[in-house]
Amino acid sequence: MKGRVLVVDDDTALSEMLGIVLKGEGFEAVFCANGEDALGAFREHKPNLVLLDLMLPGLDGIDVCRLIRAESGVPIVMLTAKSDTIDIVVGLESGADDYVVKPFKPKELVARVRARLRRPADDLPEQLEIADISIDVAGHAVRRGSDVLALTPLEFDLLVALARKPWQVFSREVLLEQVWGYRHSADTRLVNVHVQRLRSKIERDPENPEVVLTVRGVGYKAGPA
């Protein structure tokens, strides 16, 4: 058993097909067909990952995403039929870690799911410092002074990637590859939205970031320790 995936989708045919594909890849799939029941299903099944359709009857995907995010950092991958930037950005801002645009190839979806479930194997004790933030990599904890800052695993990965090489400027493409597991993608919305979310949690003033700095025309880098 590689992990349990909660599929929240009102289209039964698609849900069933997703179940077949996920089972074929060794995942356990549980289903929920509408927004209202999603949170209950989430609490009941305690999945390792949520596949969430954005357009749901009743409570829509964005709200479900917020509700789940409010109580858990579990990876959420959105399924969306719209490739319009605004829909995707709204989805990402509500807390989703990644998205796949319908119609997607099964391999693509599985790659997204795997990337989100993959945890770094090297949980050796490692302490990182950027700006006034200290990161305990093995303990998955981020602190400013004695305050613990709560980050989702994805935000944690993003911060660690930047903090491990504070001398290096990371282009969005490199971050996409290292944190999301994408190769050769020009989709920078993922990075932009998550950097913003990360900043809103760890910066004293998100308008004037000190921890995650923008390098115009290139990408991002960690602030000086």
Binding site: D11, L14, K82, D84, P106, T188
Partner: protein, 555 residues
Amino acid sequence: MIASLLHGWRRSLQLRVVTTTVVLSALVVALVGALLLDQIVDGILEAKQRAAVAEAYGGFATAQTLLNTQGADGASVGLLLGQVARDLSTRSTRGAEFEIVVLGSDAQPEQAQQFNPRASGLVEAESVPLDLRRAVAENEDPQVTYRTISYSNDVTERGFMVGRRLATAGAGFYEMYYLFPLAQERQTLALVQRTLFTAGGLLLILIGVIAWFVVRQTVTPVRMAARVAERLSAGELQERLEVRGEDDMARLALSFNEMAESLQQQIHKLEELSRMQRRFVSDVSHELRTPLTTVRMAADVLHEARGHFDRDAARSAELLQRELNRFEELLGELLEISRFDAGAAALEAEPFDIRDLVRRVAADTQSLSERTGSEVVLWLPAYGCIADVDARRVDRILRNLVVNALEHGEGRPVEIVVAADEAAVAVAVRDHGVGLRPGEAGQVFNRFWRADPARARTSGGTGLGLSIAQEDTRLHNGWLQAWGRPDTGSVFRMTLPRKSGDKVESSPLPLVPPDARRAHDAHPALSTGADPRDETGSGEPLRVGRPSHGPVNGV
């Protein structure tokens, strides 16, 4: 100064109308003034002449009566006449002045000829012209003429002269002349003239001011309408004119507002339609995509499992898989195009180095490059080529151009050249394949256009790729242009402004490659695209900078 006046003249209807009115009025006033003055002069002179003649006749009658009753001889006639002249000249009063001259008639006896001319006041007896004297000598009736009167103090004055022959019993004929200087009348006329000029001037100023106000009444609403129209065209559709009263201006305002209202309604209707269209596209997109995802996944599962099927079923699974790919691609592009058509496409511009985007596209198209045998060669400058672009769209444009070049490259190398200047960045994709026939360069961006309908497609492009690329470029305010020549190859050049919102004025790269320009050809297929200029004059080299890396296999 003159330029600004001219500018004002062209710009201001008010200035033109007022000037025209004043100029035309000046002409009319001048004409009326001249006529009036003429009438007044005639009237005054006529009255003066009547008065003069009456005065003179009275004088002549008195003199003749004296001569008849006193019957004087030669010597006393002189005295008598002198006396009469003096007596009569005392009747001259201020305002009706006259002088009297008495002369001896030439044609008559010696006494008369020797008669010393008598003249009252300072008047010169020589003032009386000879032709008048001749007329007086020949006629019994008094003669009137209008002449210059000279005085002994060197003053001259125009005036009437009335003369008559006086007969004596034995001392021959004498001539008596009344001279009426017109000094008074001249002064009166000068006064009248001055008054007329002043009145005319004042009248003109008044007309100018009146015209100014009248025109202002008309022009102000017109200017207001112009201002409101400008605001309307700037998109402030709720802008309206103020309607006051029920005159023509109010009617203009009313119809203007009606027009604005109907425009606003039309625009709202169109916006509503566009919104509905967008909504529809979005809905269709969603509704189609969900089942397509299921079908797609099912096809993949079948495709994976085709080893367990019999031959036909396995082949069917393969065909299903492949055609689904095409279907998906086509659907995606159709939705993209309809998004452009609905005006729903938005630019997400961020600073990007175009060289990075080119490198990535080259790396991604490597497998196609290996399949077609066309090597991808990059010519990237050493300097940065950062521009505000929507990376997703530029990536799509470049991918389209490179895939297109590889498909039509006939196995010969495909070159990608990047260059930048202060205002723009450009990427030219050159292939050395079949090229384009004359006229085709303008058509390649048309939807579903194919160079040769009979030609087999190697990778099953949809025919929408270049149209989408052009829409993407247009969204950046950029140019996408094509050049080609049969069997020489073709060039697709994308030029984008470095700052989002700017317009492209010129491209840092030539469209026609220098090697092709040297080979003389009368009819190169050259698309001007969004750029109306002739590019053949520019002499820049196609290759700028050194290749940062050779064939893309090394990436």
